[in-house]
């Protein structure tokens, strides 16, 4: 789960990390009064949970009321990389000498947390990581001990941070690690961590992604996550409500299946047979009629979808139950909105295939045939 910048900054500030003065605004007028409060010059920043906001035109500097008005007008309501900009953060513009990077994440290959520092902070840190990995000092952390103070110092000195601010940067890294550890963090990043002419350090941006599986221990963060849903589209909200693993894609073949690996494979097969997948949707285990109805509602609600492939491999889930669920869900419609191809396999699949009502769905025996049929249907609609 991703927090917005304004939320992450609040979490970081609570942990003692210096952050600029800022206020959230949902309208142009609110942005202007926020700027008066914070003091000019300010940065007006789109609050959407995606990287690269600056390059996409979602961050503008403004000195004076006119400029704030203009910036807020252009940013509020914009579509930024598929996210809707509903709020802006109006923040004191920091006059800086240097931009650093500090971050904490899980190195899954090592199975250990890793704390990172670089003197090459700023918008191109991902390129730096790719082209010059040594420019980022890394300390792997023994999760049983946590980040030792010497490790924070070593990362800072190895990265080549100026001695005048080394202690402060090490302290920011230590705080960042602790909050990452305590709050079930997946990624915690400050980029840039600005260094001012007076050798102050201040977190000009903040990223905090929480491990969704750790949210049961983090009621406050869970609430923040719900509060932050204002940048989501209708389908994503629906997926949250139905509790589905759902990812929207650009194509027109809707996909419903069970098990992440098999659903991904179904997406890949749609592509392999010349179609384009519209989504990833994993209904998980079980075959309750309501869940099947919700899954169909999800894909039917996506106006890009022209056909649907429904692929269930029953392990413990029984094919006959799934078939009854599909019949019941589609029986509710006077007219089936989009053609549905069904393929059932595994436990009781033959019974399931017989139960399926062929007035409602097209039945195929193999995964490959089902995908090809759905791709054909989608192409017929396009033609």
């Amino acid at each position: 789960m991703k927090l917005h910048e304004y939320q992450a900054k609040q979490v970081f500030a609570d942990a003692g990390i210096p952050t600029p003065r800022s206020e959230l605004a949902a309208s142009v007028d609110e942005a202007v009064s926020a700027a008066e409060e914070v003091g000019y010059p300010v940065a007006v920043k789109a609050q959407v949970r995606v990287g690269g906001r600056g390059k996409a035109g979602g961050i503008e500097l403004a000195d004076g009321e006119g400029e704030v008005r203009e910036a807020a007008e252009s940013i509020l309501g914009m579509d930024l990389k598929g996210y809707h900009v509903d709020r802006v953060l109006v923040e004191e513009a920091v006059d800086f000498e240097n931009e650093l990077y500090v971050g904490v994440t899980m190195d899954r290959g090592e199975g250990k947390p890793v704390a990172m520092v670089s003197t090459r902070g700023g918008v191109n840190i991902e390129e730096v990581a790719e082209e010059d990995p040594h420019a980022i000092a890394r300390e792997h952390v023994d999760p049983a001990f946590g980040l030792h103070p010497y490790q924070a110092r070593r990362a800072v000195f190895e990265a080549g941070v100026d001695r005048a601010v080394a202690t402060d940067v090490a302290s920011v890294l230590t705080s960042l690690y602790q909050l990452w550890d305590e709050k079930g963090g997946a990624d915690a990043e400050i980029n840039p961590l600005m260094v001012t002419a007076d050798d102050e350090v201040i977190a000009a941006d903040a990223v905090f992604n929480v491990d969704e599986d750790a949210l049961f221990r983090q009621p406050v963060l869970e609430e923040m996550g719900e509060e932050g849903e204002f940048d989501e589209d209708e389908l994503e909200r629906k997926a949250d409500e139905y509790d589905f693993d759902y990812v929207r894609l650009d194509g027109n073949v809707g996909i419903i299946g069970n098990g992440a690996g098999l659903v991904m494979t179904t997406l890949d097969l749609v592509d392999h047979y010349g179609g384009a997948p519209a989504n990833f949707l994993d209904v998980g285990g079980g075959a309750k009629a309501e869940r099947i109805a919700n899954a169909l509602d999800m894909v039917f609600s996506d106006e890009n979808v022209d056909s649907v492939v429904f692929n269930i491999f029953g392990g413990i889930t029984r094919g006959d139950e799934v078939a009854r669920g599909i019949n019941a869900a589609l029986g509710e419609f006077d007219e089936i909105p989009k053609p549905v191809v069904v393929r059932l396999a595994g436990t009781n699949w033959q019974e399931g295939m017989e139960i399926l009502d062929e007035d409602l769905v097209t039945v195929e025996e193999t995964l490959e045939d089902a995908v090809q049929r759905a791709v054909e249907y989608a192409q017929e609609v396009e033609a």
Binding site: M106, A260, V263, G315, I316, G346
Partner: protein, 289 residues
């Protein structure tokens, strides 16, 4: 022969009094698994499906002379349940639980390096040696005994590939689901090493997916040390970067690591053929036998 488990494996079930644990203990018993006990704190002295329940894993393992545990404990307590299994005389723990926090698993991984007990999972369907025993939730009826080893990060994808193999009359020595989480116990390399050492395994199918670098490490091992031929499959070719595709571990990072392309290239370079479809995987396996 087989890897990890066979008909002599004595199994306890952690969480046997819960809905999932009870259901799958019964399924395992029906399949022929030697389920000899359960472990649930506070439930010692009870019986489930005729199997005695103990308060601690230690006691269950000692009293019943058990070799392995299958863990159906909810995510809130699962890492602790794994730790308990690792701190017992058991040789193997199989964690089925989905949704364990990654930081918890980081601590488990650290502990694994200090003990002899092995871990399969979490977030996995388990391990089956067809005709002998199964530990987990795999549907026994789709598997059959044979010459091919199978290792996979995904449950239903495993079933799909097994289905394609069965159509061609090809059975398995052992099939193991290693799980879809970012941090897991047994890795591809660990499983491949065991298959390589197993005289009865004539070929191995390895089903990977996007995210992480386990498949690339496996490819290195295949190229350098394996004589047994490997056929690969990688799910997630069409997954966009930065989006988690269901499994917590299935995500292509923003900087482009963990892509299907990199994994397929690595496997091809190591001499493993990679199927475009599950059906093609089965065709390639058939060619090898």
């Amino acid at each position: 022969m087989s890897i990890f488990v066979d008909d002599s494996t004595r199994v306890i079930v952690q969480g046997i009094t819960g809905g999932e644990g009870e259901f799958h203990a019964e399924q395992m018993l029906e399949y022929g698994t030697d389920v000899v006990g359960g472990a649930v704190p506070g439930r010692g002295g009870q019986q489930v499906h005729g199997v005695p329940v103990y308060d601690t894993v230690q006691r269950a393992a000692e009293e019943e002379d058990a070799d392995a545990s299958v863990i159906f404990v909810p995510p809130t307590f699962a890492a602790d349940a794994i730790m308990e299994a690792l701190d017992s005389p058991l040789d193997l723990a199989v964690a089925i639980t989905e949704g364990i926090p990654t930081q918890d698993m980081s601590r488990v991984k650290k502990r694994l390096s200090e003990v002899d007990t092995e871990l399969i999972g979490p977030n996995c369907p388990g391990v089956i040696t067809p005709g002998e025993t199964k530990l987990g939730i795999l549907p026994g009826n789709i598997f059959s005994s044979g010459d091919v080893g199978l290792v996979s990060r995904s449950g239903t994808l495993t079933y799909q590939v097994v289905d394609n193999l069965t159509e061609r009359g090809i059975g398995q020595t052992t099939a193991v689901g290693i799980g879809g989480d970012p941090i897991i116990g047994t890795t591809f390399v660990d499983a491949l090493r065991k298959f390589e050492a197993d005289d009865d395994t004539e070929a191995v199918v390895m089903c990977g997916e996007i995210g992480g670098e386990d498949e690339e490490r496996a490819a290195e091992y295949i190229g350098a040390e394996m004589d047994t031929p490997v056929v690969g499959f990688i799910a997630g070719r069409t997954a966009p970067p930065g989006k988690r595709m269901g499994h917590a571990g299935a995500i292509v990072s923003g900087s482009g690591t963990g892509t299907a392309e990199s994994k397929i290239d690595a496997l091809n370079e190591a001499g493993a053929r990679v199927g475009d479809t599950p059906e093609q995987v089965a065709d390639y396996v058939e060619d090898l036998l």
